[in-house]
């Protein structure tokens, strides 16, 4: 049974927070990095960002979470920044070209 003080609050504030969270957990469990390695990288990134502005633990926290995954995957050679940008732009075009309410699909070749 959920507790009273957690009842009104969703576990993740936005669906992409959940996606980013799950991605790190899954990559860890697939052996791409250990959790202590993750904590070292992520906490360093948090600290760096926190020096410039106060983090509220919401979007800004998960943006750094996501940037840490990108940095670790890039450092290990699993992805390149160019590749991520290319596919990201592909998704952007797919969203823009898809009428509202229809499923969005990445174009072939992206």
């Amino acid at each position: 049974m959920p507790q009273c003080d957690t009842l009104p609050t969703p576990v993740f504030e936005a669906p992409w927070h959940a996606q980013a969270f799950a991605l790190a957990v899954h990559l860890n469990e697939s052996g791409l990095f250990t959790w202590p390695e993750w904590v070292t990288q992520f906490s360093a990134a948090l600290q760096e960002a926190g020096l410039a502005r106060e983090l509220n633990g919401g979007d800004d926290y998960f943006e750094i979470w996501l940037a840490t995954i990108e940095a670790m995957m890039t450092a290990e050679g699993h992805v390149t920044a160019t590749e991520v940008e290319h596919v990201k732009q592909g998704w952007e075009r797919a969203y823009l070209a898809t009428p509202h309410g229809q499923p969005v699909h990445l174009q072939e070749g992206v």
Binding site: L46, V84, V87, P99, H100
Partner: protein, 216 residues
């Protein structure tokens, strides 16, 4: 991009997802293509934390520790063994230390590095636990932070702050409220809030619980 604004069906997505949404999507696409991740496993992880794991798990452990002295002693001595027996030692809960509140000492948990937290017992941490404000101030001025959570402790009660890491996570065993002698485990569980197990709250008093129950 030209489109006919009179026909809603010809309109492009009015809400182009934000930059991080597109980046997560791009990463997932690439890592899936390379066989490094399985989208079904991602969905399973999200479903687990959204629907199955949360502070109710920790509350069950606390209620039992209140009701069964032997269980309480074992939990305080070697939480890992006890939690493994209950199948509550999953990811991010491999090494847990349970710290007990007493009339002389109140415990409070933070992760000054990032947001280490006993997921199998409490689920995903709330936003404030991850904020700079809490992470920085919990250690520096715990009483002030507690007061902001509505917890004011007598001066003679010491406050001990525990800093979680990737290796060790803490769970606070709050004090059992007076007037709950003989209560069932289920009734006791309802007094155990998430915040009381982080130490930024106290267990509910029987009257509070009754009032909250009546509101539902």
């Amino acid at each position: 991009m030209p489109h006919d604004i009179d026909d809603p069906h010809s309109q492009p997505h009015s809400h182009l997802p934000s930059d991080p949404v597109l980046r997560v999507r791009a990463l997932e696409t690439i890592l899936t293509r390379k066989g490094l991740i399985d989208p079904a496993a991602l969905d399973e992880i999200i479903d687990t934390y959204e629907n199955h794991i949360g502070p109710q798990n920790g509350a069950r452990v606390v209620a039992r520790a209140w009701a069964e002295p032997e269980f309480r002693a074992a939990l305080l001595t070697d939480a890992d063994t006890v939690l493994a027996e209950l199948d509550l030692n999953g990811r991010q809960g491999e090494h847990v230390v349970v710290v007990e509140n007493t009339p002389a000492r109140h415990n409070m948990v933070v992760c000054t590095l990032c947001s280490c937290y006993p997921w199998p017992l409490l689920g995903i941490p709330p936003g404030w636990y991850k904020s700079d404000a809490y992470r920085a101030r919990a250690v520096r001025e715990p009483r002030k932070v507690l007061a902001e959570f509505g917890v004011t402790l007598p001066a003679e009660v010491a406050v001990r702050v525990w800093d979680s890491t990737a290796e060790v996570r803490y769970l606070v065993l709050p004090m059992r409220p007076a007037g709950t002698e003989g209560w069932s485990l289920e009734a006791l569980e309802r007094l155990v809030s998430r915040d009381s197990m982080i130490g930024t709250g106290l267990a509910l008093q029987p009257d509070d619980a009754a009032a909250r129950g009546a509101q539902r």
